[in-house]
Protein backbone atom coordinates (compact mmCIF):
# COMPACT_ATOMS: atom_id res chain seq x y z
CA UNK A 1 0.00 0.00 0.00
CA UNK A 2 2.83 2.39 0.89
CA UNK A 3 4.58 1.53 -2.35
CA UNK A 4 1.42 2.33 -4.29
CA UNK A 5 1.03 5.62 -2.46
CA UNK A 6 4.62 6.52 -3.14
CA UNK A 7 4.70 5.71 -6.84
CA UNK A 8 1.18 6.24 -8.17
CA UNK A 9 1.28 10.00 -8.80
CA UNK A 10 4.80 10.05 -10.31
CA UNK A 11 3.74 7.26 -12.69
CA UNK A 12 0.57 9.16 -13.62
CA UNK A 13 2.60 12.35 -14.23
CA UNK A 14 5.08 10.54 -16.47
CA UNK A 15 2.12 8.99 -18.26
CA UNK A 16 0.63 12.44 -18.87
CA UNK A 17 4.00 13.65 -20.17
CA UNK A 18 4.18 10.62 -22.47
CA UNK A 19 0.67 11.14 -23.80
CA UNK A 20 1.28 14.85 -24.38
CA UNK A 21 4.51 14.27 -26.25
CA UNK A 22 3.56 11.14 -28.20
CA UNK A 23 3.76 11.31 -31.97
CA UNK A 24 6.34 14.08 -31.89
CA UNK A 25 3.72 16.80 -32.34
CA UNK A 26 5.63 19.13 -30.06
CA UNK A 27 9.25 19.71 -30.99
CA UNK A 28 10.10 21.11 -27.54
CA UNK A 29 8.63 18.20 -25.64
CA UNK A 30 10.41 14.92 -26.42
CA UNK A 31 8.88 11.64 -25.22
CA UNK A 32 10.21 10.14 -21.96
CA UNK A 33 12.04 7.29 -23.80
CA UNK A 34 13.76 9.81 -26.07
CA UNK A 35 15.06 11.71 -23.05
CA UNK A 36 16.06 8.50 -21.29
CA UNK A 37 17.91 7.35 -24.40
CA UNK A 38 19.77 10.67 -24.62
CA UNK A 39 20.81 10.56 -20.98
CA UNK A 40 23.53 7.90 -21.24
CA UNK A 41 25.46 9.28 -24.22
CA UNK A 42 25.14 12.89 -22.98
CA UNK A 43 26.43 12.36 -19.46
CA UNK A 44 29.33 9.98 -19.84
CA UNK A 45 32.00 9.85 -17.16
CA UNK A 46 34.40 12.23 -19.02
CA UNK A 47 31.67 14.89 -19.40
CA UNK A 48 30.68 14.47 -15.78
CA UNK A 49 34.29 14.95 -14.73
CA UNK A 50 34.75 17.95 -16.98
CA UNK A 51 31.46 19.75 -16.34
CA UNK A 52 29.60 18.45 -13.30
CA UNK A 53 32.40 17.80 -10.81
CA UNK A 54 33.97 21.31 -11.09
CA UNK A 55 30.51 22.86 -10.67
CA UNK A 56 29.80 20.86 -7.55
CA UNK A 57 33.25 21.58 -6.11
CA UNK A 58 32.77 25.33 -6.63
CA UNK A 59 29.38 25.11 -5.00
CA UNK A 60 30.69 23.24 -1.97
CA UNK A 61 33.73 25.52 -1.52
CA UNK A 62 31.61 28.68 -1.73
CA UNK A 63 29.01 27.19 0.59
CA UNK A 64 31.66 26.14 3.12
CA UNK A 65 33.29 29.58 3.12
CA UNK A 66 29.91 31.24 3.58
CA UNK A 67 29.02 28.83 6.38
CA UNK A 68 32.21 29.41 8.37
CA UNK A 69 32.22 33.18 7.82
CA UNK A 70 28.51 33.50 8.55
CA UNK A 71 28.68 31.55 11.79
CA UNK A 72 31.81 33.34 13.08
CA UNK A 73 30.50 36.81 12.22
CA UNK A 74 27.08 35.86 13.55
CA UNK A 75 28.54 34.76 16.88
CA UNK A 76 30.43 38.05 17.18
CA UNK A 77 27.51 40.28 16.19
CA UNK A 78 24.91 38.23 18.04
CA UNK A 79 26.70 38.36 21.37
CA UNK A 80 27.30 42.13 21.30
CA UNK A 81 24.29 44.43 21.51
CA UNK A 82 26.44 47.39 20.54
CA UNK A 83 27.83 45.77 17.40
CA UNK A 84 24.29 44.73 16.49
CA UNK A 85 22.97 48.28 16.77
CA UNK A 86 25.70 49.61 14.46
CA UNK A 87 25.51 46.90 11.81
CA UNK A 88 21.77 46.28 11.62
CA UNK A 89 20.73 48.65 8.79
CA UNK A 90 23.75 47.73 6.66
CA UNK A 91 23.07 44.02 7.06
CA UNK A 92 19.35 44.50 6.34
CA UNK A 93 20.26 46.24 3.10
CA UNK A 94 22.93 43.78 1.97
CA UNK A 95 20.60 40.90 2.67
CA UNK A 96 17.87 42.45 0.56
CA UNK A 97 20.05 42.70 -2.55
CA UNK A 98 19.04 39.77 -4.78
CA UNK A 99 22.24 37.65 -4.86
CA UNK A 100 22.28 37.00 -8.64
CA UNK A 101 23.05 40.67 -9.36
CA UNK A 102 26.39 40.02 -7.66
CA UNK A 103 27.49 38.04 -10.70
CA UNK A 104 28.16 41.09 -12.92
CA UNK A 105 29.60 43.03 -9.96
CA UNK A 106 32.07 40.35 -8.94
CA UNK A 107 33.01 39.90 -12.60
CA UNK A 108 34.37 43.45 -12.52
CA UNK A 109 36.88 42.34 -9.88
CA UNK A 110 37.62 38.75 -10.59
CA UNK A 111 36.97 38.09 -14.29
CA UNK A 112 35.10 34.89 -15.10
CA UNK A 113 37.27 32.17 -13.58
CA UNK A 114 36.67 29.96 -10.54
CA UNK A 115 37.45 32.79 -8.11
CA UNK A 116 34.50 34.76 -9.45
CA UNK A 117 32.09 31.87 -9.07
CA UNK A 118 33.25 30.93 -5.59
CA UNK A 119 33.12 34.58 -4.49
CA UNK A 120 29.61 35.00 -5.86
CA UNK A 121 28.41 31.81 -4.18
CA UNK A 122 30.11 32.67 -0.89
CA UNK A 123 28.91 36.28 -0.84
CA UNK A 124 25.34 35.36 -1.76
CA UNK A 125 25.08 32.50 0.76
CA UNK A 126 26.54 34.27 3.75
CA UNK A 127 23.47 36.40 4.57
CA UNK A 128 20.96 33.73 5.58
CA UNK A 129 23.64 32.02 7.69
CA UNK A 130 24.74 35.28 9.29
CA UNK A 131 21.28 36.59 10.11
CA UNK A 132 20.00 33.26 11.41
CA UNK A 133 23.12 32.83 13.58
CA UNK A 134 22.59 36.30 15.06
CA UNK A 135 18.98 35.46 15.86
CA UNK A 136 19.98 32.09 17.29
CA UNK A 137 22.67 33.55 19.54
CA UNK A 138 20.27 36.22 20.78
CA UNK A 139 17.64 33.61 21.62
CA UNK A 140 19.96 31.50 23.80
CA UNK A 141 18.40 31.11 27.25
CA UNK A 142 19.85 33.91 29.43
CA UNK A 143 19.41 31.82 32.60
CA UNK A 144 21.70 29.14 31.18
CA UNK A 145 24.24 31.87 30.42
CA UNK A 146 24.13 32.99 34.03
CA UNK A 147 24.45 29.42 35.25
CA UNK A 148 27.59 29.09 33.12
CA UNK A 149 28.96 32.25 34.66
CA UNK A 150 28.09 31.14 38.19
CA UNK A 151 29.94 27.86 37.63
CA UNK A 152 32.87 29.85 36.23
CA UNK A 153 32.78 27.99 32.96
CA UNK A 154 35.43 29.39 30.64
CA UNK A 155 34.58 31.62 27.70
CA UNK A 156 35.57 29.11 25.06
CA UNK A 157 33.72 26.21 26.67
CA UNK A 158 30.65 28.40 27.10
CA UNK A 159 30.81 29.40 23.46
CA UNK A 160 31.08 25.80 22.33
CA UNK A 161 28.69 24.04 24.68
CA UNK A 162 26.06 26.72 25.22
CA UNK A 163 26.02 29.41 22.55
CA UNK A 164 26.89 27.36 19.49
CA UNK A 165 24.73 24.45 20.61
CA UNK A 166 21.80 26.65 21.54
CA UNK A 167 21.95 28.50 18.24
CA UNK A 168 22.44 25.39 16.12
CA UNK A 169 18.77 24.90 15.11
CA UNK A 170 18.71 28.41 13.70
CA UNK A 171 22.16 28.01 12.14
CA UNK A 172 20.97 24.89 10.35
CA UNK A 173 17.90 26.76 9.07
CA UNK A 174 20.23 29.43 7.71
CA UNK A 175 22.48 26.84 6.10
CA UNK A 176 19.50 25.18 4.43
CA UNK A 177 18.39 28.48 2.89
CA UNK A 178 21.99 29.14 1.88
CA UNK A 179 22.25 25.79 0.10
CA UNK A 180 19.28 26.61 -2.12
CA UNK A 181 20.82 29.97 -2.97
CA UNK A 182 24.20 28.31 -3.62
CA UNK A 183 22.70 26.06 -6.30
CA UNK A 184 20.98 29.02 -7.97
CA UNK A 185 24.19 31.05 -7.97
CA UNK A 186 26.29 28.15 -9.25
CA UNK A 187 24.00 27.68 -12.24
CA UNK A 188 23.62 31.39 -12.97
CA UNK A 189 27.31 32.23 -12.75
CA UNK A 190 27.93 29.47 -15.29
CA UNK A 191 25.09 30.48 -17.56
CA UNK A 192 26.10 34.13 -17.48
CA UNK A 193 29.79 33.76 -18.10
CA UNK A 194 31.73 30.52 -18.28
CA UNK A 195 33.34 28.06 -20.63
CA UNK A 196 32.51 24.93 -18.67
CA UNK A 197 30.15 23.68 -16.00
CA UNK A 198 26.68 22.29 -15.73
CA UNK A 199 24.88 25.61 -16.31
CA UNK A 200 27.07 26.40 -19.31
CA UNK A 201 26.48 22.98 -20.88
CA UNK A 202 22.69 23.18 -20.48
CA UNK A 203 22.59 26.60 -22.15
CA UNK A 204 24.74 25.23 -24.98
CA UNK A 205 22.21 22.46 -25.59
CA UNK A 206 19.40 24.99 -25.57
CA UNK A 207 21.17 27.30 -28.05
CA UNK A 208 21.89 24.44 -30.44
CA UNK A 209 18.31 23.16 -30.14
CA UNK A 210 19.47 19.78 -28.82
CA UNK A 211 16.14 19.42 -27.04
CA UNK A 212 16.35 15.89 -25.53
CA UNK A 213 19.89 16.66 -24.31
CA UNK A 214 18.65 19.92 -22.77
CA UNK A 215 15.96 17.98 -20.91
CA UNK A 216 18.56 15.54 -19.58
CA UNK A 217 20.51 18.54 -18.28
CA UNK A 218 17.42 19.91 -16.53
CA UNK A 219 16.77 16.49 -14.99
CA UNK A 220 20.40 16.16 -13.88
CA UNK A 221 20.24 19.58 -12.25
CA UNK A 222 17.02 18.57 -10.52
CA UNK A 223 18.63 15.34 -9.30
CA UNK A 224 21.58 17.35 -7.99
CA UNK A 225 19.19 19.57 -6.04
CA UNK A 226 17.33 16.57 -4.63
CA UNK A 227 20.57 14.76 -3.65
CA UNK A 228 22.06 17.85 -1.98
CA UNK A 229 18.83 18.51 -0.08
CA UNK A 230 18.74 14.86 0.99
CA UNK A 231 22.36 14.90 2.20
CA UNK A 232 21.69 18.11 4.08
CA UNK A 233 18.66 16.53 5.73
CA UNK A 234 20.84 13.62 6.92
CA UNK A 235 23.51 15.97 8.28
CA UNK A 236 20.83 18.00 10.02
CA UNK A 237 19.42 14.92 11.68
CA UNK A 238 22.86 14.08 13.09
CA UNK A 239 23.73 17.61 14.23
CA UNK A 240 20.32 18.35 15.72
CA UNK A 241 19.61 14.93 17.19
CA UNK A 242 19.46 16.41 20.70
CA UNK A 243 17.05 19.10 19.51
CA UNK A 244 14.60 16.78 17.77
CA UNK A 245 14.75 14.47 20.79
CA UNK A 246 14.02 17.38 23.10
CA UNK A 247 11.04 18.45 21.05
CA UNK A 248 9.65 14.94 20.89
CA UNK A 249 9.93 14.43 24.65
CA UNK A 250 8.42 17.90 25.17
CA UNK A 251 5.43 16.91 23.09
CA UNK A 252 5.12 13.60 24.92
CA UNK A 253 5.11 15.30 28.33
CA UNK A 254 2.12 17.47 27.54
Amino acid sequence: MRVVRWFLLPIVLIGVWWAASAGGRNFFLPTPPAVAKAFGPTWTWPTIRADVVPSVVRLLVGFAIAGVAGVLLGLAIGSSARLRAYTEPVLEFLRAVPPPVLVPVVMLFAGIDDTMKITVIGFGCVWPVLLNTIEGVRAVDPVLGEVCRAYRIGRLTRLRTLVLRGASPQIMTGLRQALAIAIILMVISEMFAASSGLGFTIVQFQRSYAIPEMWTGIILLGLLGVVLAGLFGLAERVVLRWYFGLRRSGRGAQ
Partner: protein
Protein backbone atom coordinates in the same frame (compact mmCIF):
# COMPACT_ATOMS: atom_id res chain seq x y z
CA UNK B 1 13.27 57.77 25.17
CA UNK B 2 16.40 59.04 23.48
CA UNK B 3 16.72 58.37 19.78
CA UNK B 4 19.22 55.63 18.97
CA UNK B 5 21.76 57.16 16.60
CA UNK B 6 23.93 54.04 16.32
CA UNK B 7 22.19 52.43 13.29
CA UNK B 8 22.55 55.74 11.44
CA UNK B 9 26.19 55.96 12.44
CA UNK B 10 26.76 52.39 11.26
CA UNK B 11 25.23 53.15 7.86
CA UNK B 12 27.31 56.34 7.55
CA UNK B 13 30.50 54.46 8.44
CA UNK B 14 29.75 51.88 5.75
CA UNK B 15 29.18 54.62 3.16
CA UNK B 16 32.38 56.40 4.25
CA UNK B 17 34.39 53.18 3.83
CA UNK B 18 32.87 52.67 0.36
CA UNK B 19 33.92 56.23 -0.54
CA UNK B 20 37.41 55.95 0.97
CA UNK B 21 38.52 52.55 -0.34
CA UNK B 22 38.57 53.43 -4.07
CA UNK B 23 39.78 57.01 -3.39
CA UNK B 24 42.75 55.69 -1.42
CA UNK B 25 43.56 53.41 -4.34
CA UNK B 26 43.03 50.14 -2.46
CA UNK B 27 40.84 48.97 -5.35
CA UNK B 28 40.76 50.45 -8.80
CA UNK B 29 37.90 52.94 -9.13
CA UNK B 30 36.84 51.23 -12.35
CA UNK B 31 36.16 48.07 -10.30
CA UNK B 32 34.56 49.84 -7.37
CA UNK B 33 33.60 53.46 -8.06
CA UNK B 34 33.31 55.67 -4.95
CA UNK B 35 29.80 55.97 -3.54
CA UNK B 36 29.54 59.66 -4.51
CA UNK B 37 29.89 58.90 -8.22
CA UNK B 38 27.45 55.98 -7.92
CA UNK B 39 24.90 58.32 -6.38
CA UNK B 40 25.49 60.92 -9.08
CA UNK B 41 24.68 58.26 -11.67
CA UNK B 42 21.67 57.17 -9.64
CA UNK B 43 20.29 60.73 -9.57
CA UNK B 44 20.88 61.08 -13.31
CA UNK B 45 19.13 57.75 -13.98
CA UNK B 46 16.20 58.71 -11.77
CA UNK B 47 15.50 61.50 -14.27
CA UNK B 48 15.08 59.04 -17.15
CA UNK B 49 11.96 57.12 -18.06
CA UNK B 50 13.99 54.01 -18.91
CA UNK B 51 15.06 53.57 -15.29
CA UNK B 52 11.53 53.78 -13.94
CA UNK B 53 10.05 51.52 -16.59
CA UNK B 54 12.71 48.91 -15.79
CA UNK B 55 11.68 49.09 -12.13
CA UNK B 56 8.04 48.86 -13.20
CA UNK B 57 8.73 45.74 -15.31
CA UNK B 58 10.54 44.02 -12.45
CA UNK B 59 7.87 44.89 -9.89
CA UNK B 60 5.08 43.80 -12.22
CA UNK B 61 6.70 40.42 -12.94
CA UNK B 62 7.33 39.95 -9.20
CA UNK B 63 3.79 40.87 -8.17
CA UNK B 64 2.02 38.90 -10.88
CA UNK B 65 4.21 35.83 -10.29
CA UNK B 66 3.68 36.00 -6.55
CA UNK B 67 -0.10 36.32 -6.94
CA UNK B 68 -0.32 33.37 -9.33
CA UNK B 69 1.89 31.24 -7.07
CA UNK B 70 -0.09 32.18 -3.95
CA UNK B 71 -3.45 31.50 -5.61
CA UNK B 72 -2.28 28.12 -6.92
CA UNK B 73 -0.64 27.08 -3.65
CA UNK B 74 -3.58 28.12 -1.48
CA UNK B 75 -6.13 26.59 -3.84
CA UNK B 76 -4.29 23.28 -4.13
CA UNK B 77 -3.37 23.16 -0.45
CA UNK B 78 -6.95 23.67 0.71
CA UNK B 79 -8.35 21.30 -1.91
CA UNK B 80 -6.03 18.57 -0.67
CA UNK B 81 -6.91 19.37 2.92
CA UNK B 82 -10.49 18.35 2.14
CA UNK B 83 -9.43 14.91 0.94
CA UNK B 84 -6.56 13.70 3.14
CA UNK B 85 -6.58 10.34 1.35
CA UNK B 86 -5.42 12.00 -1.88
CA UNK B 87 -2.80 14.05 -0.08
CA UNK B 88 -0.85 10.93 0.90
CA UNK B 89 -0.40 10.15 -2.79
CA UNK B 90 1.17 13.53 -3.54
CA UNK B 91 3.92 13.41 -0.90
CA UNK B 92 6.52 11.65 -3.03
CA UNK B 93 6.05 14.03 -5.98
CA UNK B 94 6.25 17.07 -3.71
CA UNK B 95 9.40 15.75 -2.03
CA UNK B 96 11.00 15.29 -5.42
CA UNK B 97 9.82 18.44 -7.21
CA UNK B 98 10.43 20.90 -4.38
CA UNK B 99 14.24 20.77 -4.21
CA UNK B 100 14.62 21.14 -7.99
CA UNK B 101 16.32 24.50 -8.37
CA UNK B 102 14.05 26.80 -10.37
CA UNK B 103 16.99 28.03 -12.45
CA UNK B 104 17.07 24.57 -14.00
CA UNK B 105 13.97 25.69 -15.90
CA UNK B 106 15.75 28.64 -17.55
CA UNK B 107 16.52 26.87 -20.85
CA UNK B 108 12.97 25.56 -21.01
CA UNK B 109 11.57 29.04 -20.35
CA UNK B 110 13.72 30.52 -23.11
CA UNK B 111 12.64 27.92 -25.64
CA UNK B 112 8.95 28.14 -24.82
CA UNK B 113 8.50 31.83 -24.03
CA UNK B 114 11.55 33.55 -25.52
CA UNK B 115 12.67 36.69 -23.72
CA UNK B 116 9.26 37.98 -22.71
CA UNK B 117 7.36 38.27 -19.45
CA UNK B 118 6.35 34.59 -19.69
CA UNK B 119 9.89 33.36 -19.03
CA UNK B 120 10.17 35.47 -15.90
CA UNK B 121 6.76 34.36 -14.70
CA UNK B 122 7.55 30.67 -15.18
CA UNK B 123 10.62 30.91 -12.92
CA UNK B 124 8.99 33.21 -10.35
CA UNK B 125 5.85 31.10 -10.04
CA UNK B 126 7.77 27.82 -9.78
CA UNK B 127 10.09 29.14 -7.08
CA UNK B 128 7.46 30.96 -5.01
CA UNK B 129 4.84 28.21 -5.31
CA UNK B 130 6.77 25.66 -3.24
CA UNK B 131 7.58 28.13 -0.48
CA UNK B 132 3.89 28.96 -0.05
CA UNK B 133 2.54 25.47 -0.70
CA UNK B 134 4.60 23.82 2.03
CA UNK B 135 3.41 26.41 4.52
CA UNK B 136 -0.23 26.00 3.44
CA UNK B 137 0.00 22.25 4.02
CA UNK B 138 1.52 22.81 7.47
CA UNK B 139 -1.16 25.39 8.32
CA UNK B 140 -4.05 23.23 7.19
CA UNK B 141 -2.69 20.32 9.23
CA UNK B 142 -2.42 22.52 12.34
CA UNK B 143 -6.16 23.20 12.73
CA UNK B 144 -7.27 22.79 16.34
CA UNK B 145 -9.39 19.59 16.37
CA UNK B 146 -11.57 20.94 19.21
CA UNK B 147 -12.43 24.06 17.21
CA UNK B 148 -13.20 21.91 14.18
CA UNK B 149 -15.45 19.59 16.18
CA UNK B 150 -17.18 22.53 17.84
CA UNK B 151 -17.98 23.93 14.41
CA UNK B 152 -19.18 20.49 13.37
CA UNK B 153 -21.55 20.21 16.34
CA UNK B 154 -22.93 23.66 15.49
CA UNK B 155 -23.72 22.13 12.12
CA UNK B 156 -21.36 24.28 10.12
CA UNK B 157 -21.22 22.93 6.59
CA UNK B 158 -18.01 21.93 4.92
CA UNK B 159 -17.65 25.36 3.35
CA UNK B 160 -18.47 27.13 6.62
CA UNK B 161 -15.80 25.15 8.47
CA UNK B 162 -13.20 26.03 5.87
CA UNK B 163 -14.20 29.68 5.95
CA UNK B 164 -14.44 30.10 9.73
CA UNK B 165 -12.09 27.47 11.19
CA UNK B 166 -9.48 26.23 8.72
CA UNK B 167 -8.79 29.53 6.97
CA UNK B 168 -8.12 31.67 10.05
CA UNK B 169 -5.97 29.02 11.74
CA UNK B 170 -3.95 28.44 8.58
CA UNK B 171 -3.58 32.14 7.77
CA UNK B 172 -0.41 32.77 9.84
CA UNK B 173 1.30 29.87 8.03
CA UNK B 174 0.04 31.08 4.66
CA UNK B 175 1.41 34.56 5.30
CA UNK B 176 4.78 33.18 6.42
CA UNK B 177 4.86 31.31 3.12
CA UNK B 178 3.96 34.47 1.21
CA UNK B 179 6.73 36.38 3.02
CA UNK B 180 9.34 33.73 2.11
CA UNK B 181 7.91 33.45 -1.39
CA UNK B 182 8.02 37.22 -1.92
CA UNK B 183 11.77 37.33 -1.27
CA UNK B 184 12.44 34.33 -3.51
CA UNK B 185 10.17 35.74 -6.22
CA UNK B 186 12.20 38.94 -6.38
CA UNK B 187 15.45 36.97 -6.65
CA UNK B 188 14.06 34.90 -9.50
CA UNK B 189 12.53 37.89 -11.27
CA UNK B 190 15.89 39.67 -11.34
CA UNK B 191 17.65 36.42 -12.30
CA UNK B 192 15.40 35.83 -15.28
CA UNK B 193 15.99 39.37 -16.49
CA UNK B 194 19.73 39.08 -15.96
CA UNK B 195 20.28 35.71 -17.63
CA UNK B 196 17.47 35.51 -20.17
CA UNK B 197 17.20 39.20 -20.97
CA UNK B 198 13.54 39.72 -20.12
CA UNK B 199 12.83 43.45 -19.66
CA UNK B 200 13.54 44.85 -16.20
CA UNK B 201 16.29 45.85 -13.79
CA UNK B 202 18.29 42.65 -14.30
CA UNK B 203 18.43 43.24 -18.04
CA UNK B 204 19.57 46.83 -17.45
CA UNK B 205 22.39 45.50 -15.24
CA UNK B 206 23.48 43.05 -17.94
CA UNK B 207 23.48 45.89 -20.49
CA UNK B 208 25.35 48.27 -18.16
CA UNK B 209 28.00 45.63 -17.51
CA UNK B 210 28.97 45.48 -21.16
CA UNK B 211 29.09 49.29 -21.27
CA UNK B 212 31.91 51.46 -20.02
CA UNK B 213 30.35 52.86 -16.88
CA UNK B 214 30.85 50.64 -13.81
CA UNK B 215 29.08 53.23 -11.62
CA UNK B 216 25.87 52.47 -13.52
CA UNK B 217 26.13 48.78 -12.63
CA UNK B 218 26.47 49.70 -8.97
CA UNK B 219 23.63 52.21 -9.16
CA UNK B 220 21.31 49.53 -10.56
CA UNK B 221 22.48 46.93 -8.05
CA UNK B 222 21.79 49.48 -5.31
CA UNK B 223 18.29 49.94 -6.76
CA UNK B 224 17.60 46.20 -6.54
CA UNK B 225 18.71 46.34 -2.89
CA UNK B 226 16.28 49.18 -2.17
CA UNK B 227 13.55 47.20 -3.91
CA UNK B 228 14.41 44.17 -1.76
CA UNK B 229 14.16 46.24 1.44
CA UNK B 230 10.81 47.68 0.33
CA UNK B 231 9.49 44.19 -0.44
CA UNK B 232 10.60 42.89 2.98
CA UNK B 233 9.17 45.84 4.89
CA UNK B 234 5.97 45.90 2.85
CA UNK B 235 5.25 42.20 3.25
CA UNK B 236 6.03 42.29 6.96
CA UNK B 237 3.70 45.27 7.46
CA UNK B 238 0.93 43.58 5.51
CA UNK B 239 1.39 40.43 7.56
CA UNK B 240 1.05 42.35 10.83
CA UNK B 241 -2.04 44.17 9.54
CA UNK B 242 -3.78 40.95 8.44
CA UNK B 243 -2.88 39.10 11.64
CA UNK B 244 -3.76 41.92 14.06
CA UNK B 245 -6.15 39.51 15.83
CA UNK B 246 -3.55 36.75 16.23
CA UNK B 247 -1.73 36.04 19.49
CA UNK B 248 1.72 36.37 17.93
CA UNK B 249 1.00 39.98 16.90
CA UNK B 250 -1.58 41.10 19.45
CA UNK B 251 -0.23 42.95 22.46
CA UNK B 252 -2.07 43.44 25.66
CA UNK B 253 -3.23 46.99 26.09
CA UNK B 254 -1.13 48.52 28.88
CA UNK B 255 -3.19 49.71 31.85
Amino acid sequence: MRADWRPVAGALIALAVWEAVPRAGLVSSTDLPPVSSVFRVLVREAGTGEYWSAIGDTVWAWLLGLLIAAAAAIGLGFALALVPAVRAFTTSSVEFLRPIPSVALIPLAVIVYGTGLGSTLLLVVYAAFWQIYVQVLAGVADVDPVADETARSFRFGRWGRIRHVTWPSALPYVLTGVRLGAAVALILAVTAELVIGAPGLGQQIAVARSGTEPALVYALVFTTGVLGVLVNVGVRTGERRLLCWHASVRREVPV
